[in-house]
């Protein structure tokens, strides 16, 4: 159990370390690139947009769940409420002064821009996953099969 936990921690560290190293180089390099002022806004917008979009996808997934449970209405209402909370927080934070509003004219423009932004960054992450997971499987299948039992 302990070994499994430490492996998980090692995995998370391995995933975050390269990003942190590149960010550290970005800060400490000759160019002294300080924390980008729009980073917090991007982080907040990314959280809210991915939460809402993923929530909509999961509501679609509820139809599969409903097929095996006599089509209950309660989970659907629960997810709609969770989604509404996300949209409400996004609306409140974007319309509140300069909190999450990036270089866009207003609330609607920011929300639409967030969706397109997620489409692009999601595509980038999907392609990166295809490359990394694909090459991992290629490495696994690339090895010659080991002979487990010798014929007598």
């Amino acid at each position: 159990m302990k070994q499994s936990e430490s492996s998980w921690r090692l995995l998370i560290l391995a995933a975050f370390l390269p990003i942190l190293v590149l960010v550290a180089i970005n800060i400490t390099g000759d160019w002294k690139n300080d924390f980008h002022p729009e980073s917090f806004k991007r982080f907040g917008n990314a959280i809210l947009t991915s939460y809402v979009i993923m929530g909509i996808i999961l509501i679609g997934n509820l139809f599969f769940y409903a097929d095996s449970r006599h089509r209950p209405f309660a989970p659907f209402v629960g997810m709609m409420f969770a989604l509404a909370v996300g949209i409400l927080i996004a609306w409140a934070l974007i319309s509140n002064d300069d909190l999450l509003l990036e270089a866009n004219s207003g609330l609607r423009a920011q929300m639409l821009s967030n969706v397109v932004h997620l489409l692009v960054s999601g595509t980038a992450m999907l392609l990166a996953s295809l490359l990394a997971i694909g090459v991992t499987f290629a490495m696994i299948t690339g090895r010659e099969r080991r002979v487990l039992f010798e014929e007598e």
Binding site: G122, M125, G134, A138
Partner: protein, 258 residues
């Protein structure tokens, strides 16, 4: 606004709808057709509704389509050219696959450092290119590194494969580092370094947002399942039912010689 809705936003929403129809099995072929048609309309939206700024996203997807397909072809060839029990390809597929992956990464690099950079309005660089490129580099570096550690932690005698994955991670980090130092064809290294921050914020934000949505979904399902009454115990079998079961069992496992 209406044109943007018709030519960009409705086709964009058709993609997940088509995928849902296809996955759910309710209308497999129709779902695929709807999703592909939606994707095509999104990709050509910078011509159908040029006034909308959102179409830059569709234009970028079209610009990276060729190297992305090449990457997918390469990964397919590398995986299925190896020792797989089903759908095995010719052993040369591994070589052609690895070459395809290298060429696709080379094309992405040329899109940054040479004149293949996606251009949008008035010969200006597509604003989403500088979003896509650092996000792709950072995320692939991170995932390759995690995969290398996973192989050596959970796999059996997988050190050499793990080292190769770590090399891939270092290569992707090296490309990111080169973009931080050397100017691109249409973008400067200053811009890239700025967007590296934003890409990091994007990756972490997206992961946190998706985790929160999955957490909310799990809570909703858990609360509903918890509210269901416990199933009632069924009545014990009657004498007649027991006799019937015993006769069935005897028929099957009696072992009487014919």
């Amino acid at each position: 606004m209406l044109e943007a809705a018709i030519w960009f936003w409705i086709p964009l929403s058709l993609i997940p709808l088509g995928a849902w129809l296809s996955i759910s099995g309710k209308a497999k072929s129709l779902g695929k057709i709807i999703a592909v048609a939606g994707l095509l309309l999104v990709m050509i939206s910078s011509w159908t509704v040029p006034a909308s700024d959102s179409t830059a996203g569709g234009h970028l997807l079209l610009s990276i389509l060729a190297p992305s397909l090449l990457l997918a072809y390469g990964v397919h060839g590398m995986v299925f050219g190896g020792n797989v029990p089903v759908g095995r390809l010719d052993s040369t597929a591994r070589w052609s696959g690895s070459i395809a992956i290298i060429v696709s990464l080379l094309i992405f690099c040329l899109m940054h450092w040479y004149n293949l950079t996606p251009l949008w309005r008035d010969g200006e660089v597509n604003p989403y290119w500088i979003v896509f490129w650092p996000t792709f580099l950072l995320f692939s570096t991170s995932l390759s590194s995690a995969s290398a550690v996973a192989l050596v932690s959970y796999g059996d005698n997988r050190l050499s494969e793990s080292i190769r994955l770590a090399i891939l991670s270092v290569i992707m980090a090296g490309i990111a580092l080169a973009a931080m130092i050397f100017d691109g064809y249409m973008t400067t290294s200053d811009e890239f370094r700025d967007y590296l921050w934003l890409a990091t914020a994007d990756i972490f934000g997206t992961i946190v947002g998706i985790s929160l949505a999955i957490g909310a979904f799990a809570m909703v399902i858990w609360a509903y399942e918890n509210s269901l009454p416990l199933p009632e115990n069924s009545l014990p079998p009657t004498e007649e039912e027991i006799k019937h079961v015993v006769s069935l069992a005897e028929n099957h496992i009696g072992g009487e010689e014919e």
